[in-house]
């Protein structure tokens, strides 16, 4: 269901756990679906011995995709007008991620209402893994 400008307030939040105990298999699944086959996401010998990381880690876009699931659940299908993030920390297998949207502004342009959201996704240790913003069309 789309949001309504009349029932939203600055500071409102919506939060969802978007993945619990992220599996290597889901990272492989995302590699196949997205077409990003960079071996640092799926290939442990390469990642440890050649790239120098302690473990394979999730595509940034997997974290963004899971964060986007929280957003579309909140604002409704086909309502987003913008969504951007910075990837601030790597996400490793075993991660549990919580994505949160916070209402920053409710505005009207040419008779159409919009909500502007701050977006933050954190891991099980409370560390931010991506941070950004989104906007969506809302009803009056």
């Amino acid at each position: 269901m789309p949001l309504n400008a009349s029932s939203l307030s600055v500071g409102d939040t919506h939060s969802e756990v978007v993945v619990e105990n992220l599996t290597r298999t889901q990272i492989v699944q995302y590699a196949g679906a997205s077409g990003d086959y960079n071996p640092i996401h799926t290939d442990t010998p390469f990642t440890k011995e050649i790239a120098g990381y302690p473990s394979v880690f999730a595509h940034g876009m997997l974290s963004m995709g899971m964060t986007g699931k929280m957003l579309t659940n909140y604002v409704g299908d086909g309502r987003l007008t913008a969504f951007g993030v910075r990837f601030t920390r790597q996400v490793f297998p075993g991660a549990t991620l919580t994505a949160t949207a916070t209402v920053e502004a409710i505005r009207e342009e040419d008779g159409q209402h919009f909500v502007d959201l701050a977006v933050s996704t954190t891991n099980q240790e409370g560390q931010e893994v991506c941070k950004g913003d989104a906007s969506a069309r809302i009803d009056a």
Partner: protein, 162 residues
């Protein structure tokens, strides 16, 4: 990356992409459900534009008869030497999408890419950082832009400290 690619928006691909991000919203897999929604059909999830990589001939993927840098019998399939691990120093720093309308299963988009700005910065965890922006515009059959995507890639001078 190719400068221009054709990106068919396929229902089966949307279903698999939604499954990979753990999104069980039926609008991504059930045409009957989707018809009754505001967009009026199966739509692509917000980050699906990235999956245009499948249709880009220049995106790195294992190909028959070609060396692949991932492991086989050895940790890497490409010869040792300067620059061997350079490509693994490339990370995704930022991503932004502007949506002009929802993208529906069944349409075919044309993606045009162009370089944006470049800049450098001294990082704390990965040494010297070199940033590069790439802008992709997704056009529909009428020539209207439906999505504008801006990717910022960063190349680090060493593996990022944990």
């Amino acid at each position: 990356m190719a400068d221009e690619i054709t990106f068919p928006i396929e229902a089966g691909h949307i279903m698999r992409f939604a499954a990979a991000i753990g999104d069980e919203n039926p609008i991504y897999r059930d045409a009957g459900h989707a018809e009754a929604t505001e967009p009026g059909g199966v739509i692509a999830p917000p980050t699906y534009a990235i999956a245009s990589a499948h249709f880009d001939p220049d995106v790195a993927r294992p190909l028959p008869g070609r060396p692949w840098r991932g492991s086989g019998a050895e940790p890497t399939g490409t010869p040792a030497g300067p620059g061997t691990d350079e490509s693994s120093r490339g990370l995704h720093a930022e991503q932004r999408f502007v949506y002009h309308r929802p993208v529906l299963a069944g349409e075919t988009l044309t993606v045009r890419r162009r370089p944006g700005e470049t800049w450098t910065k001294e990082g704390r965890r990965g040494g010297a950082l070199s940033f590069r922006e790439q802008i992709s515009e997704f056009f529909d059959a009428d020539g209207d832009v439906v999505i504008t995507a801006t990717m910022v890639g960063v190349t680090t001078s060493r593996a990022v400290d944990q």
